[in-house]
Symmetry: C2
Subunit: 293 residues, 2 copies
């Protein structure tokens, strides 16, 4: 097996290098928006989505490097959703990854426009991705659906509407499947599609990503209770304080841990048709449920 943490760091660095090159310079007119875009995009994060795009390409025999532009696009979509999610009208968060949020630094109007700009640029990058034009178009279509009201935005809407309301299992699952799951799924698929994946390979990778996303989310909920504040970068217990629906709140710690393990096993099982070229994706499963940040 590969040294996963080392490899993840290397790939995240590659993504950051590309973003550095692709984002307009901070002197480009009008400078304010380009500064604000860089502030949020270059502000850290695990870069899991772009890494998944690259790993999806590799799993079906493609090159990670060829998927780099598309990978960056998915990081922009993720970042846009955070910038808008943090707005006063939404979650009203002052900090993100230990830094002031976009609207706290640049003002609310700029933060709205910065999110818009990142989303718009994501589609530019997707359209500039390497791959057969038919495949690139398919990725753009899937990204738009996955980021839209039947994906990411749908999850945001239900999450926002559900604030302070007691959630049932179905709604909690809907939110997670859409707010985080949809982009995970499309990230892996995008890399694979650009590399010319067959339908059966795409189906397997979809099953993988859905379960990976679920495991990730349950682990996130568990870390909010059991985690180390220094490592997770936010106060422990903030979900409980904000009356947020979580797996531990609904199922208790024990059953939540079991659910995370089960999802992890199903993610690994979905990769059975693949050989060593999917080892990175396999390692990612363990990373996701064993991480302490």
């Amino acid at each position: 097996m590969i040294d996963f943490k080392e490899e993840l760091k290397k790939r995240a660095a590659l993504v950051e290098e590309s973003l550095e090159i692709l984002l307009p310079g901070t002197n480009a007119y009008p400078p304010l928006i380009h500064q604000a875009m860089r502030y949020s995009v270059m502000g850290g994060g695990k870069r899991l989505r772009p890494v998944l795009v690259m790993a999806g390409a590799e799993a079906v025999g493609g090159k990670a490097d060829d998927a780099l532009t598309a990978a960056c696009a998915f990081e922009l979509i993720h970042t846009y959703s955070l910038v808008h999610d943090d707005l006063p009208a939404m979650d009203n968060d002052d900090y993100r990854r230990g830094k002031l949020t976009s609207h706290k630094v640049y003002g609310e109007a700029a933060a709205v426009l910065t999110g818009d700009a990142l989303l718009t640029m994501a589609f530019q990058l997707l359209a500039e991705s390497k791959g057969a034009p038919e495949n690139v178009l398919r990725v753009i279509r899937e990204a738009a659906v996955g980021a839209g009201t039947f994906g990411l935005i749908g999850g945001q809407v239900v999450d926002t509407l559900s604030e302070g309301v007691e959630l049932d299992e179905n709604t909690l699952e809907y939110i997670h499947r859409h707010k985080t799951g949809a982009l995970y799924k499309i990230s892996v698929r995008a890399g694979a599609i650009l590399a010319g994946a067959r339908d059966d390979q795409l189906a397997a990778l979809t099953g993988y990503a859905e379960n990976l996303g679920l495991a990730f989310q349950i682990k996130d909920d568990l870390l909010d209770i059991e985690g180390d504040e220094q490592k997770i970068g936010k106060p422990v217990g903030s979900d409980t304080k904000n009356n947020k629906a979580t797996y531990p709140a609904l199922f208790g710690l024990h059953k939540s841990r079991a659910k995370a393990r089960q999802a992890a096993q199903q993610a690994l099982a979905a990769l059975r048709p693949f050989g060593a070229e999917a080892d990175f994706l396999r390692s990612m499963v363990n990373f996701v449920i064993e991480r302490d940040f």
Copy 2:
């Protein structure tokens, strides 16, 4: 020549029919966002951008109908920009086209997400447009650039930053060229590109659209002073009251009218290489500077 007003009405109706079909139903989960999307998109407007897409296709020998999906995409981009522009953090407008704005009806969080959803769906529709895959990809790239920080969003940023500041001619022109001009330009180009336009045809159409956009904007400024409140759908003199930079404020009425006429003439001149297939675009020039709404 064609009966332009009749033809414009017919085409706007065609666009509205398509939007009606393409937008998710208001029962689709989560209903709130789909209701809010329809509320803003189906709320009237001249539908000039989608009509320009169709006319751009025709000018180079394509069929207007083939460009309909792409045309709808440009109306969604336009609508998203209005929904976000009206937000309290931006222009803080309560009414648009005589109806309450999105955030007044659905709340601020929903309005942010509705704009996001419309922008996202626009790229889905573009990716589903009829045309050679290479041409569709080019349209997506151009749309993203035209709607991004070097186009529409750039214009918004400078407009927002300039509030209450006395503007010079260059800044005023920058705002107009980007905030309205960029999308006009890309709309005409998009239709033409999808229909397989040659580069010299695209260059001519670009010159046309830039001048049409300028004429449209100056006329808008003039209507704010000379127009009929009932017809333009907002109080006369609101630009002056809001201390907005306008052509009449910078140049006076007389010179502004001359500038609008000049832009109109240049728009018509740009169409010289085209025959009767560009008659709709020609009529549009007269419509834009002679309209009273």
